[in-house]
């Protein structure tokens, strides 16, 4: 089974084609690298894969499945109900004075019990007696507006990053995006959020389930922090970490959702030699724990050392794909990216 398969991905911003017709397949338990000069479209490709951008063309499949909401009966019913509610709300809002007058004011005599049946009857009568413009027309307009809005909302949320994350695909960012004011544990717990089940009411009333879940996930978060070697700082603010640690925390946060596929965007950027050695070991451990790894990287020793296969991009096009040995032997890649010594 392939963990990730991208078919003919094209990403266009107005006149600029950032990624053109890129296809590749990552097998499960591989470490797969995407390389290319600055501006080659690597991060854009990642963003298109993880749902931050909607690809202009092409199909992305995770584990042989397109992650996308389909138009089901449930969504249809939800849109219809929204439309109906908006229609009703519009009619009531437009005619509130009449309706209130007819049903409440005219039936209520001070300090006497309210005749509810008369009130409801008169409310119904007043609703039936509405003119075309304030009744039917208002309902149609309100219903169209509400239904249209619900439809647009549904359409735009078909393929969002959160849906893809929930499908078991996690990522890190080139420019580290941690939650700086939260502690390390909390950062990791946010990554675990979609595995938690206790909701609003459990939290409000501190149900047994809430406590059980809290204990379990907190222990797991600490475990994950020690996996990446940050256990001793677990309650510090993420913003107080030095650079190399931040990258590791981002990886821990991404791993927290128990992803089957993890995308790392330049994990070694700005790291020194010993940090990179640690990182290579970490990436291997992640792979050995059963997670497929896709990474963007400039650091050649890391790429050639850990990856099973490599994809080379230049100006948004893919110019080669193969094992590290093949890439090293490919003259086009050497010229485009690796560079030759003779140019000095």
């Amino acid at each position: 089974m392939s963990a990730l398969s991208a078919q003919a991905i094209t990403m266009r911003f107005g006149g600029l084609v950032a990624v053109q017709d890129v296809s590749f397949t990552v097998q499960e338990h591989q470490i797969y690298a995407v390389i290319g000069p600055n501006g080659a479209g690597k991060t854009t490709l990642f963003n298109a894969i993880t749902g931050i951008y909607e690809p202009t063309a092409g199909v992305v499949q995770f584990f042989d499945r397109v992650v996308c909401l389909t138009f089901s009966w449930r969504s249809a019913i939800r849109i219809a109900l929204t439309s109906l509610a908006c229609a009703l709300a519009t009619v009531i809002a437009v005619n509130i004075q009449n309706l209130w007058q007819a049903s409440i004011i005219e039936n209520y005599v001070y300090a006497q019990p309210f005749p509810w049946s008369n009130g409801l009857r008169d409310l119904f009568g007043a609703l039936c007696g509405l003119s075309f413009a304030s009744g039917v027309l208002a309902a149609i307009l309100g219903g169209l507006a509400g239904g249209g809005a619900a439809l647009v909302l549904w359409w735009r949320s078909r393929r969002t990053p959160d849906l893809i994350a929930r499908a078991g695909v996690a990522r890190t960012f080139q420019n580290i995006r941690l939650f700086n004011e939260l502690s390390l544990v909390q950062n990791v717990l946010v990554g675990m959020d979609h595995r938690m089940r206790a909701g609003f009411w459990s939290a409000l009333f501190r149900s047994p389930r809430f406590h059980a879940e809290r204990t379990r996930f907190h222990a797991e978060a600490l475990e994950l922090l020690s996996f990446v070697g940050l256990a001793d700082r677990s309650h510090d603010a993420a913003g107080s970490l030095p650079y190399g640690f931040r990258r590791r925390l981002e990886i821990a946060r991404a791993l927290a959702g128990k992803p089957r596929l993890i995308l790392l965007d330049e994990p070694a950027a700005g790291m020194n030699h010993s940090e990179i050695v640690d990182l290579i070991a970490l990436i291997r451990r992640v792979r050995d724990a059963g997670t497929t790894v896709v990474l963007i990287e400039h650091h050649m020793r890391l790429v050639m050392g850990v990856s099973d296969r490599i994809l080379v991009l230049q100006y948004g096009r893919q110019i080669a794909e193969g094992t590290p040995a093949e890439i090293r032997a490919n003259p086009a890649c050497v010229e485009a990216y690796l560079g030759t010594e003779s140019h000095g």
Binding site: Q97, W100, P161, L182
Partner: protein
């Protein structure tokens, strides 16, 4: 670990014994009556703190939800309407009514951020006031709705003279609100709120359903603000006119949150004490004292401190932002298992 009282417990403990001060004062000063406003504004600001402090969504129309809660409560309980469901059911119903109002404002504005959202909420605040003013069939227009019933519990009534009863009722309800908010804050929901405040895209990429989390922030804040509105109506026994819930109230609530410490419950309590204490206790008393000494009052408006209050608020806000940008009591990085 041994239990130690946290700052919230200390503040509430002091509040619980505060009325005893009266025993040592030479003449009745009605301290507990003056502190009511602090409690009400603390509840309102705690609501605002959920949406603005936790989720980072600037809301300039919190007073609108207070108004919605106040009018919903008044219509449901006042004897000139047929519903008359009583104080406690009415007060409880302000929560879903407020939440619904928050949902209705939140739904179309989900994708707005920062300044744009602030403008929309500002506009919403004005619209609600205008609707309440002009929908006089339902809301009695600028007269306001009265009399709104006082609470009663097991045969004891809260009358206007029972200042201690009111004091402890408000204190108890404030504690309930604090507990509820604290429980939400220290849960995955609170964490999700923080995460979208810190970095919306990153939290979305971690699988947080940002729309849902924002809606919950909006609705929870609106529910709490509506609760404060209903409660204030009962304290005053009237909704007052719609302009009692104007932009100034929203800004005062925002000042409390910012001066106190954005995103911190203790901060909001301290902020409410400082700002409302200044507004309705210190300035009022100072004016009265000066007047008895023959200074200020009718003779010279410039010499009565009460007339300077907006200048003082503005100054307090500028000083707070300049000297204590995270507020008097900034939120701490949570060190416990949350």
């Amino acid at each position: 670990m041994r239990w130690r009282p946290g700052p919230i417990v200390c503040i509430l403990g002091i509040a619980a014994v505060l009325p005893l001060i009266e025993l040592f004062l030479p003449q009745p000063a009605h301290v507990s009556e003056a502190v009511r406003g602090v409690f009400l504004y603390a509840i309102l600001a705690l609501g605002l703190n959920v949406v603005t402090g936790y989720a980072g969504l600037l809301n300039l129309g919190i007073a609108a939800f207070m108004a919605i809660g106040a009018y919903a409560f008044a219509i449901l309980t006042c004897e000139i309407y047929p519903f008359q469901i009583g104080f406690w059911p009415g007060l409880l119903l302000t929560l879903p009514v407020g939440a619904l109002a928050g949902f209705l404002l939140g739904a179309p504005t989900l994708r707005l951020r920062g300044d744009y959202l602030a403008i929309v909420t500002l506009g919403f605040g004005e619209i609600v006031q205008d609707v309440l003013k002009n929908l006089d069939v339902v809301t009695k227009g600028t007269q306001g709705i009265n009399p709104v019933p006082a609470p009663s519990l097991g045969g004891t009534m809260w009358t206007a003279e029972d200042e201690y009863k009111w004091y402890y009722l408000l204190l108890a309800l404030l504690i309930v609100v604090i507990l509820a908010i604290r429980n939400l804050e220290r849960s995955r929901l609170g964490r999700a709120w923080f995460s979208i405040r810190e970095d919306e895209l990153a939290s979305r990429s971690m699988g947080i359903r940002v729309e849902r989390i924002k809606m919950l922030a909006f609705s929870a804040a609106a529910a709490i603000a509506a609760f404060a509105g209903g409660l204030s109506t009962s304290v005053l026994s009237s909704t007052g006119e719609p302009s009692n819930y104007d932009f100034q109230v929203s800004i005062l609530a925002l000042c409390i949150v910012i001066v106190g410490g954005i995103g911190s419950i203790v901060g909001v309590l301290v902020g409410a004490l400082v700002m409302i204490g200044l507004n309705s206790i210190v300035l009022v008393k100072a004016t009265a004292v000066l007047e008895t000494m023959g200074i200020g009052g009718q003779s010279n408006v410039l010499l009565s401190p009460n007339n300077w209050k907006y200048l003082i608020f503005g100054l307090a806000l500028v000083l707070a932002v300049r000297l204590k940008p995270h507020g008097l009591v900034p939120p701490r990085i949570e060190r416990r298992a949350t």
